[in-house]
């Protein structure tokens, strides 16, 4: 009965504020909306399930313009004016690095999507958690996927950001260790008018495969360019670029997208949390939205940790974050059920939407499974799993 009508206190007490510092403009712009939707979905599910500590959650969204200075200004407003308990959704590693000193000082929980190693370096007082593979695992996942496809020679086309760069060394090492040969590597800058030079240089050597470490805008332009220039090397890309809710295929057309490989953390599709997330935002099963799923996990875990610690003080509830996913107990994916279990004192662990991950003590995710996808006739098909 209490499910239909939330407890009285929910309406009376002031809500607990959660900040979302999303890249709504700038080069991260394509992912900002996805993040916001996911955060709203998670907040709604939690509030429908009675909120936490008898209070509702309120989401405050701020734009970091994918830019550290704007990010700091926006974070300052979230912390000092809106008094949020946590900041979620920090997409760019540079923004995360810039904001981190402030959140640490003010004892605010910071959950990020950026994968630069430095983010989790140092003593973070349990306040910084990364909801993203680090570059090493992702780089290795690509080399394993290529090995499985029998790729002998590969070249690398990498966008100049901390995240994309951090995947390159691990990829190279793992790929050459497995007997492959890297023909060439070219870095390029964000926001170039065209990528023709890079494409000529990399695809011109006709490697079996090209690892394109970039986001959707650059990937779209590069894939089109390679096709139009008459090249046939297979493209391997991040799931958040080539999968991205089908947007990549829409951009370049099915013919260009045909045969593009991409990988990302699963269990997309068989996670209860992920299904709940997709249902909440009204997307069909099988849609791939990595950043959204990560933000969903961030908000849910923040809420669970607050409930568990019975405190909105970041330093107090931050400790609970790893415990909630690392526990040796039955997995629960639906946030509402997790909340119920928590209130009932039943032991459980939260199995995330983005992946069924664990946390390492330093704040990194571990234990990730990657899905290996292939675009066929305009659809991403799961062709294997990589651990």
């Amino acid at each position: 009965a209490s499910l239909a009508s939330p407890p009285m206190s929910l309406a009376q007490q002031s809500p607990i504020r959660i900040g979302l510092l999303a890249p709504l403009t700038g080069i991260g712009g394509p992912y900002g909306q996805e993040e916001e939707q996911a955060a709203r979905a998670a907040v709604k599910i939690i509030n429908d399930a009675g909120g936490v500590l008898g209070r509702s959650l309120e989401l405050i969204v701020a734009d970091d313009e994918t830019q550290p200075t704007a990010g700091v200004a926006a974070a300052r407003k979230l912390i000092d004016v809106d008094k949020v308990a946590s900041i979620a959704g920090v997409w760019s590693s540079a923004v995360a690095l810039a904001v981190k000193p402030i959140t640490l000082e003010k004892g605010v929980l910071l959950t990020v999507n950026g994968s630069a190693d430095e983010i989790t370096d140092g003593d973070n007082k349990n306040l910084v958690w990364r909801f993203q593979t680090n570059g090493k695992s992702w780089g290795e996942a690509f080399s394993k996927a290529m090995a499985k496809d029998g790729i002998k020679t590969a070249s690398i086309l990498v966008l100049q950001t901390p995240f994309t760069q951090s995947t390159i060394q691990p990829f190279r090492k793992s790929f050459t260790d497995a007997g492959g040969k890297v023909l060439d590597e070219v870095s390029f800058n964000a926001g170039q008018p065209s990528y023709r030079v890079e494409v000529e240089r990399i695809f011109g050597k006709k490697p079996d495969a090209v690892f394109v470490a970039a986001y959707i805008n650059e990937l779209s332009a590069i894939a089109k360019e390679a096709f139009r220039s008459g090249y046939d090397s297979k493209i391997y890309a991040f799931g958040n670029a080539a999968g991205s809710n089908g947007q990549f295929v829409k951009n370049v057309g099915a013919e260009v997208a045909e045969g593009v490989h991409h990988t990302q953390q699963v269990p997309v599709g068989k996670s209860a949390a992920y299904s709940r997330y997709l249902k909440e935002i009204g997307k069909p099963d099988g849609t791939i939205m990595t950043f959204g799923a990560q933000v969903f996990d961030q908000i849910v875990l923040t809420a669970l940790a607050i409930e568990k610690a019975k405190s909105t003080d970041g330093v107090r509830f931050g400790v609970e974050v790893p415990a909630l996913v690392n526990a040796d107990a039955p997995s629960i994916g639906d946030p509402a059920e997790a909340l119920k279990a928590l209130r009932a004192g039943k032991p459980f662990r939260y199995a995330g939407a983005a992946s069924d991950f664990r946390f390492a003590p330093n704040g990194d995710q571990t234990d990730l499974t990657f899905g290996h996808f292939l675009i066929k006739a305009g659809d991403s098909k799961l062709v294997g799993e990589i651990r």
Binding site: T25, Q33, S194, E225, K250, V252, E255
Partner: protein, 286 residues
């Protein structure tokens, strides 16, 4: 090498149209329109609406979009630049920064951040011996040359062109010679609006249609226009070609990501030898 040249020329031509629009407005209004990149994006999106949302063929959508945006450009001038007309080039430059920010976010408001593409099939390239030329490149080649020829004839040989240059040179004297400045300014924006829309379409074909597309072109466009000699529209085209070729050939001697440094050095060297731009002439002010 041959391929590099072809690619360089196409890259340069792609820059040529917005550079031409920039130097056209500069040469008449004496201010560098920082919003030229946003104009390009706006035009591209208008054409996107015609092409994808309303289902028109691209050439039709491009023509309609160009006409519509030309009018919008006149409107923007009327609202934002006209009240500042006599306040010096840099005041207008700063105003155009404001216009750029505003326009880019109008796009973002309606269309979001995700990249989009026109409804044209992507095709494999044509081959001429070793040299590959793709369909977009061919479109770019033809469209840009046609546009350049038209603008050149207008500017150099017609009454309208003389009107523009007279106002650019000496607005007061132009007025006593019977030329209405506001009419000329409107014409200039009409032409600039069409040019930027056209270039928006070509850039969209070449890469994606996205809110930042114009922004990414801004720096090269300014460089090209100034390199050529900003007060001389046709020189801007030469500047654009030089820039395109320099970037392409730079990769022979430098890591790809440093090609801009070569371009920069070439530019400085050229400007030191020819301080008025490659093909520009000294602007006489006394």
């Amino acid at each position: 090498m041959g391929q590099l040249l072809v690619n360089g020329i196409v890259a340069g031509l792609l820059l040529a149209l917005p550079a031409l629009a920039l130097s056209l407005t500069f040469s008449v209004l004496r201010f560098a329109n920082y919003a030229v990149g946003s104009y390009l994006s706006c035009g591209a999106y208008l054409v996107y609406i015609g092409n994808v949302v309303l289902g028109m063929p691209l050439w039709l959508a491009a023509s309609a979009g160009a006409a519509l945006f030309a009018v919008i450009a006149v409107g923007i001038d009327w609202l934002a630049y006209r009240p500042l007309r006599d306040r010096g080039g840099v005041t207008l430059l700063v105003a155009s920064m404001g216009v750029a920010i505003a326009l880019e976010n109008v796009i973002r408001f309606f269309a979001g951040n995700l990249p989009r593409a026109y409804n044209v099939p992507v095709a494999r390239p044509m081959r001429f011996g070793d040299i590959r030329l793709n369909h977009e490149q061919l479109t770019i080649l033809v469209a840009v040359f046609a546009a350049l020829a038209v603008v050149w004839i207008i500017f150099r040989f017609t009454r309208l062109g003389r009107m523009m240059r007279a106002v650019a040179d000496n607005p007061d004297l132009a007025a006593v010679r019977g030329i209405s400045r506001s009419r000329v300014v409107a014409y200039v924006w009409l032409i600039a609006g069409m040019l930027t829309t056209l270039s928006g379409v070509l850039v969209g074909l070449d890469a994606n249609v996205e809110p930042q597309m114009g922004w990414t072109y801004l720096l090269p466009v300014f460089t090209a226009a100034i390199l050529g000699g900003i007060a001389n529209p046709m020189a801007a085209v030469a500047g654009a070609l030089t820039l395109g070729l320099a970037e392409e050939l730079a990769t022979l001697v430098m890591p790809v990501h440093y090609r801009m440094i070569v371009t920069f050095l070439v530019m400085v060297a050229l400007l030191l030898v020819r301080p008025w731009g490659l093909f520009g002439t000294r602007w006489v002010t006394k």
